[in-house]
Structure formats: structure tokens, C-alpha cells
Amino acid sequence: MFARRSDLPLDKDALSRFLPWLIAFMVFLAVMAMAGVLVLNTVAARWDRGVSGTLTVQIIPAENAVDDDARLQTVLKILTETPEIERFETLGDDKLLALLEPWLGTSAGAKDLPLPRLVDVELKSGAKLDIDALSRRMEARVPGVSIDDHSIWLNRLVRLIRTVEGLASLVLVFIALSTIGTVVFTTRTGLALHRNAIEVLHFIGAQDSYVAAQFASRALTLGLKGGVIGLFLAVPSLLGIGVMAAKMESGLLPDITLGAVHWSALAGLPIIVALIAMLTARITVMKTLARML
């Protein structure tokens, strides 16, 4: 297919048999790391979109519940008067208890706990609301009200995701470097192993590039072979993780399935790795031959 007829018995040395498996492993890791990056990217973007443009107003419970109701009404009135707000919704006690259930359990006593009142607020899209001003206006009329625009939480989350993404990208770089290192090593060993035949080719008048082309096409073939194996190992793993994530149905995890663009980026990895292997082999041969002969 790619390999032209080889003048060197490159496919007979043990290194040629071990290289595809090593590359398969590299590609497997690379696919996982890259899938991680792609998913995190999607997640970060969706969280960002989903959370920005919303506020939560929290009214800390006072001594008696009647007071609380009056304070809630004042807050709602202020919200109604704010033009940037699209819509708001008071979270009922039922919903609140459901949210707290993991921590409080379903015991009857929980109902008697003083619960804060929460109001979910959705801003008009594109509206620029001065949160601090709103917060001051509310505090002036209703003490004990706080507004959370999720920005701290979101910033931290996004920072966390970016860090993990950075690490995953670093993993990709390491994989590329290991691939290069492995190919340099196997190519050098191959050159030493076939030194006699290479010398003969050389005396007959072969350019270095003629010899290099044989190593390069071999590396490309082995790289593609390994890459495809690695990809085939990685795909079921990714699908498995996707299924597990889907089963969680958690509000915390947005839909993390990979799109067509993502899949084709992942499918491109074996090709990239094979090209890296080919180029590395070529450069190694050219450099080594210039020193060797």
C-alpha cells in the first residue's frame, strides 16, 4: 500500500513487531486524553452558558415565619421592578427539601427546620445587570438577603476544568515525545542492525534519502497499524464511559457525548501519530547516515 519494495529486511527485526503495539498504546492514551479535553471543553462551555444569566436570591430565615413571608414579598416586588429580569421563581419547600435530601435525609423532623427562601432568577439574554447595585437595594429594604450570581463557583469550576485540560494536553505532548523517542531508538537500532546492507546500498550509489525512504515508509505503515489498533481499543472504552455517564442522569454532568467533529478529531490521531513516526524515522536516518558513512 504505502510501502514500496524494501531493500532492507526491516520487517524481520523484532523492533518492527514491537513498535505497532507501543504506538497502539500511545494512541490509546492519546485518544483518551484528547477525548477528555474535548468533553471538558464542551462541559465548561455548557456550564458557562447555562449558569451565567441566572441568579439565586437567598433570604435567611428570621425568628418567625410570617416575617419571612413579608420579606419574600418585598424581594419579589424589587425583582419585578428590575427591567433586566426575564423571569423568577420561588423555590417551594418541597423542592428545597428535595435538594437537601442527600444531607438531611427524609426524616420528618427536617420539615421543622428553618429553611432559607430561595428565588431562582433568570436574566434577559444579553442584559447587563449590576448585581452589586441590586444587592445594595435589597439589603436596604430587606436585611439578610444575599444574591449569588454563581460567578465565584463558576470561576473556580472553569479554572479547575482548564487545569485538567492543561494536564491532558501535557499528556498529549508527552505521548508525542515518547513516540518520537521510541521511533528514534528503533530506527537507530535498525540502522545498526542493517548496517551491512545499508553500506552496500551506499556503495552502489544510493542517496541517504533512498535509505531514509525505506525506514520512513516502514515507520508510517507500522505507525498506522499501531494507531488503528489503539483507536479500536479506545473507542469501546470511550463508549463505555459515555454509557456510564448517561446512566447517572445527574444535573451536575451535562450531556457529555462526543459529536461528529470530535469523533473525527479522534480518528485523526492515528494518522498524526503515524506521520510523526514517519518524519522522525526519516530525520533520524538522514542524521545518522551523515555521521555513519
Partner: protein, 245 residues
């Protein structure tokens, strides 16, 4: 690169060669060969015959002195420009140096492939030449399955397939009996008649005396030209291998 009829095809001036820090195995070697000449390179074992040939086929660099091939100073020729020069020099190595994983056909085809010849041409010429050296039935045989004499003929075929301007043969009759040795010598003579400059290293004195070509005599690294050292060439003829059969 055109070859001037009168210009030396191989020229050595005060060439010395030492391996590592050892003694000089060639000392002040000076000679020039006219295109189309035929020489025997003689001398006792260890005299430096193989070393001298290695200098000509650019497997070694001299420790001192000047070597030029086809009028080009090798020392000042860049690495990139050496392969085209090497293609004009055919070598029959003392130890054959066939590629054992390739068939006889592919071994002989190698110089043509390296030179970028067309597939159909390679097929035609290689089969023709291997038939001519009596290996028509062994095209697909790997060298290890061939006898010493057969391997020798494959290596000779490989050396001449691309019609080199210079043919170097290092003890090419060392592995065969005298009748076969004479047949191979006649093959070299035929090539020489087609214009190839030939140097044959041998210590088979009987053959050397019988054929009567000029000698390059090496002893302990010193070279002496015996006979007409600049025998001039018959005009090179453009002939196909069929002409040789």
C-alpha cells in the same frame, strides 16, 4: 559529467592511508588510469590491494594525498554529490556482499532501481544479464541457497548491470576453479572492450601472466606500475548486453 578521452579516469597523487593510529598501509601512491584501460592489481596478501580499491570506490578516505575520479577531486566533493559518482563505479566485493534477504534478481536490480530506472527496463536487463552469467534458472534464489561460484556471478552481474565506467573486482576468482576463473576474466575483457575501465585485484599470477595486461604491483603499501601504465582506450561503443552474448 562528460569524460574526456584523454583525461585520467582515476588519479592518485601521494596518497597515504592508515587505519586509525596504525602504520600507513598505503604510502605515497601515485598513478593515473586512462579511460578504457585494463589493469591487474597484484601483490602478496596484506599488501593493501583491498584498501586501494576501497579508496577508489569511496569506502575509505585517504589519510593524505589527492584522489580524483572522473576529473573531480573527491575531498572537495560534497557528500550529496558522491552517489552519482559511485553509480559509475561497479564493485565486485571480495566477500560478495549480496543482500541475503533479496533474490538474485533483486540483488542485481538494485543499482538500476537506485538510479531510478523504469520497471520494464529493469526486468529486461536483469533477466538478460543473469541468463548471460548462467543463472537464468536461479532468478528467485536467495544468495544463501547458491553456491560460492553462483554468488560470485550474481555479485559480478550486480557490479556491471548499470554499465559502470569503472569496474573494480577484488579477488573475483578466489572462489572458483581455474576454468570458471578464466570465463569470468573473459567477461571482464568483454566489458573492457565496451569501454569500461577495469581493475582486478588478484594473486593468481598464472592468470595475470597468461592475459598479459599491465600490472599495478603493491608491496607493503608501495605501488609500482608494471607494463604500460597508461594504456589508452578503444573508443567506447554503445552496445547492449546482447552484444556480449
Amino acid at each position: 559529467m562528460t569524460i574526456d578521452e584523454n583525461e585520467a579516469i582515476v588519479k592518485f597523487e601521494n596518497v597515504g592511508l592508515r587505519y586509525g593510529l596504525g602504520p600507513e598501509v598505503l604510502q605515497d601512491v601515485t598513478f593515473s588510469l586512462a579511460p578504457g584501460s585494463f589493469h591487474f592489481l597484484v601483490g602478496p596478501s596484506g599488501a593493501g590491494k583491498s584498501s586501494l580499491l576501497k579508496l577508489i570506490y569511496l569506502a575509505l578516505k585517504p589519510s593524505r594525498g589527492l584522489i580524483s575520479l572522473f576529473g573531480r577531486d573527491i575531498a572537495t566533493t560534497s557528500r550529496r554529490d558522491l552517489p552519482p559518482i559511485r553509480r559509475r563505479v561497479g564493485v565486485v566485493f571480495q566477500e560478495f556482499r549480496l543482500l541475503n534477504h533479496l533474490s538474485a534478481f533483486d540483488n542485481v536490480a538494485l543499482p538500476l532501481r537506485i538510479a531510478g530506472a523504469k520497471k520494464s527496463e529493469i526486468q529486461k536487463h536483469v533477466v538478460e544479464l543473469l541468463s548471460w552469467v548462467g543463472l537464468k534458472d536461479h532468478l528467485d534464489a536467495r544468495p544463501p541457497t547458491l553456491s560460492g561460484g553462483q554468488q560470485q556471478r550474481v555479485s559480478i552481474a550486480r557490479a556491471v548491470i548499470a554499465r559502470p565506467k569503472i569496474l573494480l573486482a577484488d579477488e573475483p576468482t578466489g572462489n572458483v576453479d581455474d576454468p570458471m576463473g578464466m570465463r569470468l576474466m573473459h567477461l571482464f575483457e568483454e566489458l573492457n572492450k565496451l569501454g569500461t575501465t577495469v581493475i582486478i585485484a588478484t594473486h593468481n599470477n598464472m592468470m595475470v601472466e597468461k592475459m598479459g595486461y599491465p600490472k599495478m604491483h603493491l608491496d607493503e603499501g608501495w605501488l609500482e606500475m608494471v607494463g604500460d601504465g597508461s594504456m589508452s582506450a578503444p573508443a567506447p561503443r554503445q552496445t547492449d548486453f546482447e552484444g556480449l552474448i
